[in-house]
């Protein structure tokens, strides 16, 4: 009897021991795929790349920060001189507009940038191994995917370095909790150098043509990379390189400025997007809408500042027909100062809420043209720079009121003219503050007056003097590291201006 019980017990124990390691005790997420099962075919890489792009459109479910395009808008415009707070502007947004910035300001949260950077890093780290598993994946295809991830990562680091100055450089994927998250910041110039390195690498891998227009404008092409390179080179004062990179875009013959005409031009370039003028856009669609209808129209957080219409685009009080088409009812609505570029269907009618799918324009052809003009001006080729400005103005039928006659050898005036033309052409496209800062900081802040004049124009009267004094400190031109980041990452050092 005893032996029998013992035997049964032994068999039972053996049974449990032998079977206990089976799958049903293994915990795997029920709503996703784990890494070991992904990264097996080229379709997996494709899915990851598209996922990276869609993280630029809207944040994943359960994450409550703003969409990337709204951050790009806010970082590029709020501190410039063309924006005023709307009725629904938050306290944090107003504080940034008034240069009243503290590290606790929520808009200094950079989580969204690093989230997408991690998506890029994951592709860069894990995609090459797929080639061993999937024989149908060619090296060329793999390189194409890598160029997309490298370029997006470079653009995000570029934006971070323009916004925060020194930021942590994380170039490997975060795959486990054991990763080191205590990263110190890298100096801005190192970040720029990394960005250039990545973009150069990506350029070698990049696609020229995906075979359909939407992909050509919505995914990274060799032209988007060169547009980015032009921009970074200008920030780095490498003017010849900037000129060359821009030239690659211009000489490609794939882009052009569309002749302006009432309604069609606006509809083609902005409302529909992916036009011949466009180089890289965030592809919002009717099923994945952008934030613009809400923040510019329905519960408007941002307005054009009161001086934009008159000072930027010029108003002919005697002849209303004589107007810059890029002003009233393109960039903004006269009278209400509503920002119209991202909500209009054409110059007369606005889109419906459900159909407000206007893209976010990262680079357009006119942007590259004017960046090349800036490089030319800095290379003391002022007359060629002016030719480019004139070309843009001619195509846009700019009014005489905003035309300037200047000496081609007067670099300061040429740059000012380029800046003014950029503010007309690229109004509210997240460029203004970066344009001002890039030109102001050149030659050891020789043109600090650009920022100060902007502040005089837009600062509240009772804080103007403080704001000017603050702007004289170059560290104040960059946002602080958010308090939360400092708390979780002890290796970070706060920008000294925000002690």
């Amino acid at each position: 009897m005893q032996t029998k019980i013992k035997t049964i017990l032994a068999i039972f124990t053996l049974f449990i021991a032998a079977t206990s390691c089976d799958d049903y005790l293994d915990l795997r997420p029920q709503d996703g795929i784990i890494r070991e099962e992904f990264w097996k075919t080229k379709e997996d890489i494709q899915a990851a790349v598209i996922g990276m792009y869609s993280s630029l459109l809207n944040s994943p479910p359960g994450v409550s920060d703003f969409p990337m395009s709204q951050y790009l808008f806010m970082h590029g415009e709020l501190r410039g001189d063309m924006i005023a707070p709307g009725l629904n502007a938050t306290e944090d947004q107003r504080d940034i507009m008034n240069s009243n910035i503290m590290a606790s300001n929520d808009l200094t949260n950079w989580a969204i940038f690093y989230r997408t950077i991690n998506y890029c890093n994951t592709i860069i780290d894990l995609a090459p191994a797929v080639r061993e598993k999937d024989p149908t994946l060619t090296q060329v295809q793999l390189n194409h995917f890598l160029s997309e991830a490298l370029a997006i990562r470079a653009y995000l680091y570029f934006t971070l370095a323009r916004t925060f100055k020194d930021v942590p450089l994380k170039l490997t994927a975060t795959l486990t909790d054991e990763d080191n998250f205590q990263l110190p910041v890298s100096p801005q110039k190192d970040v720029f150098a990394q960005v250039i390195k990545d973009l150069k690498l990506a350029e070698g891998y990049a696609v020229q043509d995906y075979g359909n227009n939407d992909s050509n404008k919505g995914r990274i092409t060799v032209y988007a990379i060169n547009a980015m390179l032009t921009d970074v080179y200008l920030w780095n004062d490498n003017f010849q390189e900037a000129f060359d990179a821009a030239d690659k875009v211009i000489k490609s013959g794939k882009f052009d400025l569309i002749k302006v005409s009432n309604n069609t031009w606006f509809n083609t370039v902005y409302a529909k997007g992916n036009s011949i003028e466009s180089i890289f856009e965030f592809q919002y669609s009717k099923t994945n809408l952008g934030p613009f209808y809400n923040i510019f129209f329905q519960r408007h957080q941002f307005l054009a500042s009161a001086t934009v219409l008159e000072d930027v685009f010029g108003v002919d009080f005697t002849n209303p027909a004589n107007k810059d088409i890029r002003g009233d009812r393109t960039s903004l609505v006269a009278g209400t100062n509503e920002i119209y570029k991202f909500t209009g269907e054409n110059n007369d009618t606005r889109k419906e809420l459900q159909g407000a799918d206007t893209h976010w324009f990262v680079y357009r052809y006119a942007d590259v043209l004017l960046m090349q003009a800036e490089a030319l001006a800095e290379l003391n080729r002022g007359s060629e720079a002016l030719t480019i400005i004139e070309e843009v103005r001619l195509k846009r039928e700019a009014i005489d009121m905003t035309a300037e006659t200047i000496a081609t050898d007067n670099k300061k005036e040429v740059i000012d003219y380029i800046l003014a033309e950029r503010s007309r052409e690229l109004a509210f496209e997240g460029k203004r503050w970066f344009d001002m800062l890039r030109n102001a900081r050149r030659n050891n802040y020789a043109r600090l007056d650009i920022l100060i004049d902007g502040a005089i124009l837009s600062a509240p009267a009772d804080q103007q003097q403080s704001i000017i004094a603050k702007l004289k400190d170059s560290n104040s031109h960059y946002l602080p590291i958010n308090t939360y980041e400092l708390y979780t990452n002890k290796a970070l050092v706060q920008n000294p201006f925000y002690k």
């Binding site: 504080d95 009243n100 009278g335 403080s466």
Partner: protein
């Protein structure tokens, strides 16, 4: 083992229980009872070595317990280095050598009774006074490329917005000093203001400016602001000494008389209340101690200009304030420096024709504003207007018709301001900021496009005072052969030429404008209008002027030729 198993079950159970107890540790479970461990100000200071001297100061003055109570305070906290510098300044070896009363004042000056973060700082005073009673001034400076926020111009903030349990701390690098000189003493001390000082003395204003403020009553009203000008500014105006100043301004030869022009010259520079440059920059008109005289102020880029005005289409250049020297705090007020000599302008009443549509917000609509044949009506929301306010949330509408045609084309400029439903809850108590009206007596005429039904009576208020006559928007112009002078005596006129039967004009009353400047004209509907109200022009004609002519050109921009 066997013996153990043979024990009665109860005992076995107890044994297991006891063994379990032995393994279970007997230490007391620690439950955290506090929800917040942030220190209060005093404890925070005791904890931090760099601030030991201020902590000692709190102990000596007996403020330490007070700063440890719950509340919302702002503390400007000088570092030890700053405290040492202060001791050196007052020539004391340690804090104990300084009179306790002085130390108490110092402490009180560093504490505000409200929590104020640096984001609330402006170029001027902090809205809450210090416990001492004096206001602190904030700003920002740049030294060697590094900018920092400053307090009272001298102290820079080293570390800002340190949250503690009972408020917020800003660490500063200098001890703030109580301003102990009155305005009069401050002015007298500055040798470049010698002529201004003499002027103050002979007009008797010196004593007024020398009167200390009673901080215990915390009376902001009794503070004064002085716009001084130095000897160079006088010299530039051709005045080299006090005799020449008297000769130029003192028309009664008794400067002590408040009616004497020299006395007015001085009192025009003294403003009631504590007004730092940041306050001046945002107030369009500054009341002065000269009876019923105001100084207009305007911010042109970053320069504050006094008395820069456009009168009758002519720009009168203003006088700038010298920023660097101004904002000088005295115990009873603040001192600013004007760049050049300025004086009260004598102006005669002039007519003001105020087109209700002539608002900047409408003017920006260049494709619509005063363009015949463009979109006839354009509505703008309440939040957009700077100079028009009303109750209710309906928009107001710019309405333009072809000249001398359509509905409102017969009015001046052929346009009217339309209120779709002038009534409670829609648009009510609509208030317009008028252009500058020079002080004097005026008759107020309001013209409108009449309606046959669905509108009614409207009351008119000037600066909140009701005018005697109401306007009846149902009333059309009298086109009979009654001479116009007779009509005028009844309070009606035909304000456009050629006369239109659709427009009418009503005299609502005579006003006495006591202060030159912009005023408020308010219209109040007396019933629930369901039809549109169309407003054309408000005329302010000086009482001694012809009230009929010149007439407006119907549908045009200018005046009709005189008959």
């Amino acid at each position: 083992m066997k013996r153990l198993l043979r024990l009665p079950s109860l005992l076995r159970f107890t044994l297991v229980f006891l063994i379990a107890l032995v393994f279970q540790n007997c230490t007391e479970q620690k439950i955290k009872e506090s929800t917040d461990e942030t220190l209060n100000i005093t404890d925070y200071l005791r904890d931090t070595e760099e601030y030991s001297m201020f902590s000692e100061l709190l102990e000596i003055t007996n403020y330490a317990p007070f700063m440890n109570t719950y509340g919302t305070y702002t503390l400007f906290l000088p570092t030890n280095d700053a405290m040492k510098e202060y001791l050196k300044d007052v020539g004391a070896a340690s804090l104990k050598d300084v009179p306790v009363a002085d130390l108490q004042n110092i402490v009180k000056l560093h504490i505000l009774n409200q929590k104020i973060n640096t984001t609330a700082f402006t170029d001027g005073k902090i809205a809450t006074p210090s416990l001492y009673g004096q206001f602190l001034v904030t700003g920002a400076t740049n030294k060697n490329g590094e900018s920092s926020t400053t307090v009272n111009k001298t102290a820079s903030i080293l570390k800002s917005n340190v949250e503690v349990g009972n408020g917020v701390i800003h660490v500063i690098d200098k001890v703030l000093r109580v301003a102990d000189k009155t305005l009069a003493q401050t002015i007298e001390q500055d040798t470049s203001l010698s002529l201004f000082t003499e002027a103050l003395k002979i007009t008797g204003w010196y004593d007024v400016l020398n009167k200390p403020i009673d901080y215990t009553t915390n009376d902001i009203e009794s503070y004064l602001t002085v716009l001084a000008q130095n000897n160079d500014a006088f010299k530039a105006a051709g005045i080299n000494n006090i005799e020449e100043l008297k000769a130029k301004y003192s028309h009664l030869h008794e400067p002590l008389n408040p009616k004497d022009s020299l006395n007015l010259f001085v009192s025009y520079r003294i403003l009631p209340k504590l007004q730092y440059l940041a306050d001046i920059a945002i107030s369009p008109a500054l009341v002065t101690k000269a009876p019923l005289e105001v100084i207009s102020a305007k911010l042109d880029k970053d320069v504050i200009l006094l008395n820069e005005e456009v009168f009758n289409g002519v720009l009168e250049k203003g006088v700038a304030i010298v920023r660097e020297k101004s904002d000088l705090t005295a115990s009873n007020g603040v001192l600013h420096f004007a760049e050049a000599n300025f004086a009260i302008k004598k102006r005669l009443p002039a007519p003001v024709y105020f087109d209700f549509c002539d608002q900047n917000e409408f003017r920006q609509l260049t494709s619509v504003f005063r363009i015949p044949g463009a979109a006839p009506k354009t509505s703008l929301a309440k939040s957009l207007f700077k100079d028009v306010t009303w109750d209710g949330n309906d928009p107001i509408t710019y309405f333009k018709d072809a000249a001398r045609g359509g509905t409102v084309g017969f009015g001046w400029h052929g346009d009217c301001l339309e209120l779709l439903q002038f009534r409670d809850g829609r648009v009510q108590n609509i208030a317009f900021k008028t252009p500058v009206i020079i002080k004097g007596k005026y008759k107020v005429w309001i013209s409108y496009r009449a309606q046959t039904t669905k509108v009614g009576l409207v009351k008119v208020f000037f600066d909140g005072v009701e005018l005697p006559r109401q306007i009846n928007f149902l009333e059309f112009v009298n086109t009979s052969s009654i001479p116009e002078r007779v009509l005028e005596s009844q309070g009606y006129k035909r304000h456009v030429q050629p006369t239109s039967s659709k427009m009418n004009c009503r005299l609502v009353g005579t006003i006495d404008v006591t202060v030159t400047g912009r005023h408020t004209l308010t219209l109040q509907s007396q019933s629930a209008f369901t039809g549109q109200t169309w407003l054309d022009v408000a005329e302010f004609r000086p009482v001694d002027m012809d009230q009929l002519y010149p007439k407006f050109d119907s549908g045009g921009d200018g005046f009709a030729p005189l008959p």
